[in-house]
């Protein structure tokens, strides 16, 4: 698997239209560097001795760099391994292979206590604002907890100040910190989760579907907040979502995942204007536009079937069983290549990295 080198390969980098990317310097060392990441879950057979009979290859060779202050969106359909990637990066579920370096330091293989100091720098926010907060604690305690655990404030007064500032930072009323999560809406609970994640002043936030459970009118406020925080605090995000419109909105760079791997990655505008992998094209094409005239005038690429099981991915290109190009465009000789050769993630002349032997940029939107 070729390692993505992030310097000087993206023609879209530094473009002026790319508002968010303006401040991201990708010439230096990445803050996070993932190489060949693997997370396989054993499948146990029946019977008395539960032997391992196979593996769910949830993440199966994933390379990714994130630079300081950069927002990288990770998008793909459910089950493609996005959450597993996020958890493996944080070592919440140890990787079964590969390397995760944070500021140059290897995380794979570290034990709990070795992880603890690093946890300050990498925090995660989960999708479900209802399940991720302790309902029996007032908001003050929820936000203060990480500060207390890490002994980061010298007295109660400072703790109160810090919590107050954090709560204000995420757009909540600091007078409400004595209330319990149940008194807040879904969007507000997600903000509480973000305040807690910010408490230790991390450098990287892994956001796993942070707005997917929210109604759009509420989601918009949380998205604005995340944009602001990133601008103000210089945070880097790994922004995980299944919704391409949400990912496009916030990301500097976007990685598209399919069956445990990244199959295309590019600067945001580059990816949306010139998607080159057939899966990326189909994904973009499938999203209905909230504009009746445009939506009805569109040509749509509809791919057939469902995602195959990650326990038994297809040989060669993993996407071939659903690929519109494979089914309708390629001749037998080329199909043979798709069936036998696993395409690596590399630049094939599209100006960015993709994993399709016959990738060709196509305007979809």
């Amino acid at each position: 698997m070729s390692a993505p080198t992030t310097t000087g390969r993206d023609p879209g980098a530094g473009r002026e239209t790319h508002r968010a990317a303006g401040g991201v310097d990708r010439t230096g060392e990445p803050i996070l560097s993932v190489r060949g990441l693997e997370k396989h879950f054993p499948i146990k057979g029946g019977g008395l001795i539960k032997r391992t009979v196979g593996a769910v290859r949830a993440v199966d060779g994933l390379d990714l760099d994130i630079h300081p202050g950069e927002v990288v969106g990770l998008v793909g359909e459910s089950g493609c391994g996005k959450s597993t990637t996020g958890r493996a990066i944080l070592n919440l579920q140890p990787a079964t292979g590969g390397s995760v370096k944070f500021q140059g330091k290897e995380l794979v293989g570290l034990n709990r206590s070795q992880m603890r100091s690093l946890r300050r720098d990498i925090q995660i926010v989960f999708q479900d604002p209802y399940a991720s907060l302790n309902p029996r604690l007032p908001v003050f305690d929820i936000v203060a907890e990480p500060l207390v655990i890490h002994g980061l404030t010298k007295d109660a007064k400072e703790l109160r100040e810090r919590v107050r500032t954090l709560v204000e930072t995420v757009g909540l009323n600091p007078e409400h910190t004595n209330r319990y999560p149940a008194e807040f809406s879904g969007g507000q609970r997600q903000r509480i989760g973000i305040a807690r994640a910010l408490a230790l002043q991390p450098k990287l936030l892994v956001l796993d579907e942070p707005v997917s459970a929210l109604d759009v009118s509420i989601q918009a406020g949380v998205m604005n907040l995340l944009s602001d925080l990133r601008d103000e605090l210089g945070l880097a995000y790994l922004f995980i979502a299944h919704d391409l419109s949400v990912v496009r909105h916030i990301s500097d760079r976007v990685a598209v995942m399919y069956l445990g791997r990244i199959i295309e990655i590019a600067d945001r505008d580059e990816l949306f204007e010139r998607p080159a992998h057939p899966y990326t094209q189909a994904l973009m094409s499938a999203i209905p536009l909230p504009d009746p005239r445009r939506e009805r005038a569109r040509q749509r690429i509809i791919i057939s079937g469902d995602v195959p099981s990650p326990a038994n991915p297809p040989s060669g290109c993993r996407f071939r069983t659903r690929c519109q190009k494979f089914a309708h465009v390629l001749d037998d000789g080329r199909r043979e290549t798709c069936m036998t050769v696993d395409p690596v993630l590399e630049d094939r002349g599209a100006g960015h990295l993709n994993a399709c032997h016959f990738a060709e940029p196509l305007k979809v939107l």
Binding site: T169, N173, S285, I287
Partner: protein, 420 residues
């Protein structure tokens, strides 16, 4: 909301229709009037008695569905979309207090006995739920379930003919190897394939109306695109009209003829799909469209949230239910709940300030603040709205009191609320 329907649409409870296949179903049930609107819902009201008081889930829904049209019902979760449709189908739990009128081809359905209703269900009106397992029975083969549906409405249909028709239906909804797959059980299918089977069942008896409640919400977008195509096929094949419930404004844009926007148990705007997307007149509709991150707009543009949350439908205060979140709110809004008024041909909106909304020209930025904060509490009076603004052509941020933004940990540029 699968819990309501869980018992309702399995083949066994559809049962006992006395219709003959091929007959003109419009006249085959006494009291049905072929010339009447297909489905006419008037002043539908649903309350659920609970320990905390009466949950007023649906508060006066009116709509009429015309032959062959697709009416979309959109709105945030909890706005009463599902309860409205379950009430139409007679599928609400016994505790629900339902009043108003639901007429199918002129015949009143509310208050009908189960027996009469099941004649309508499946044959006249059929339903598709978000979770396909609401309609499928895990212990029976797919083919058998389709055949049962067919035979319940046509006792004279032979087993063989029903079997052949089941295969045909599965082919129509795009199930490969249909002749073999009739022998599969639901668990042998993926979510998308199960939803295809449910659509096959829903179209089995050539219904006049298909009500689909979030039929693609649980599916991935590439599968959603497939299912939306299958739904269109089903409509073409049966000539049925459809009520499509969804929260996805993209899906609506592609398929609906008319749109009903629900808020806090009521329709607040009804119009053609073009009216709703290009000339919304209710601030909520404008706000909803403005809050979407869109693939068809320049990226990086700031989104426009609607601050606060929908009101609790347990004890609603008087006045406009959207008032606490509405940037155009004035004192008059709190006097009485606005009626839906005609704002254009076949286009109604429940707001006393629709001219101000019209002045925004469909641009939510002109009316709503681009705030990043959300400081009000659920169920707590979150607004002390500013004094009535004289002219609302200027966008003043933060009339809801939450628009101006806090300063954070070293935040130089946080005044997100007041970009005018």
């Amino acid at each position: 909301m699968s819990s309501h329907g869980a018992t309702a649409v399995t083949p066994s409870s559809r049962s006992t229709g006395g219709l003959t296949a091929g007959g003109t179903r419009a006249t085959s049930l006494p009291g049905f009037d072929a010339s009447a609107p297909l489905l006419e819902v008037t002043d539908l009201d649903v309350r659920f008695p609970t320990e905390d008081g009466s949950v007023h889930a649906v508060r006066g829904v009116d709509y009429s569905l015309r032959s062959g049209e697709v009416l979309a019902i959109v709105g945030e979760s909890g706005s009463g979309k599902s309860v409205t449709s379950l009430a139409v189908m007679g599928l609400l739990p016994g505790s629900a207090r339902v009043t108003g009128s639901v007429r199918y081809r002129g015949q009143e359905l509310l208050g009908q006995r189960d027996r009469a209703m099941s004649g309508v269900r499946g044959k006249g009106v059929s339903m598709i739920f978000q979770d396909p397992m609401t309609s499928l029975d895990p212990v029976y083969k797919i083919g058998y379930q389709i055949e049962e549906t067919l035979r319940q409405h046509d006792r004279s249909l032979s087993k063989k003919a029903a079997g052949a028709r089941a295969v045909e239906l599965l082919e129509l909804v795009g199930i490969p190897n249909a002749a073999d797959r009739v022998r599969s059980y639901p668990h042998e299918f993926s979510g998308g394939m199960r939803q295809r089977v449910v659509i096959a069942i829903a179209m089995a008896n050539q219904p006049d109306v298909i009500i689909a409640d979030e039929p693609t919400t649980a599916l991935d977008v590439t599968v959603q695109a497939q299912i939306l195509e299958v739904l269109q096929t089903a409509l073409q094949e049966t000539g049925a009209a459809m009520v499509l419930i969804t929260h996805d404004l993209g899906v609506v844009a592609g398929i609906a003829d008319r749109v009903l926007v629900m808020y806090a148990g009521r329709p607040v705007e009804i119009g053609s799909v073009e009216d709703i997307y290009y000339e919304p007149r209710m601030p909520y509709t404008l706000g909803l469209l403005g809050s979407l991150p869109r693939l068809d707009a320049p990226p990086g543009q700031r989104l426009i949230p609607i601050t606060g949350s929908p009101p609790s439908v347990v004890n609603m205060p008087p006045g406009c239910p959207f008032a606490p979140r509405c940037p155009l709110h004035v004192a008059d809004c709190d006097v009485a709940e606005p009626e839906r008024l005609l704002v254009g041909p076949d286009h109604t909106a429940a707001c006393i300030r629709t001219e101000q909304v019209a002045a925004a020209g469909g641009d939510a930025h002109a009316v709503f603040a681009e705030t990043a904060s959300d400081a009000g509490l659920v169920g707590v009076d979150q607004t002390s709205p500013a004094a009535p603004e004289p002219e609302q052509s200027e966008h003043t941020g933060g009339p809801t009191g939450t628009g101006s933004v806090v300063s954070g940990v070293g935040s130089p540029t946080t005044s997100t609320g007041d970009r005018a």
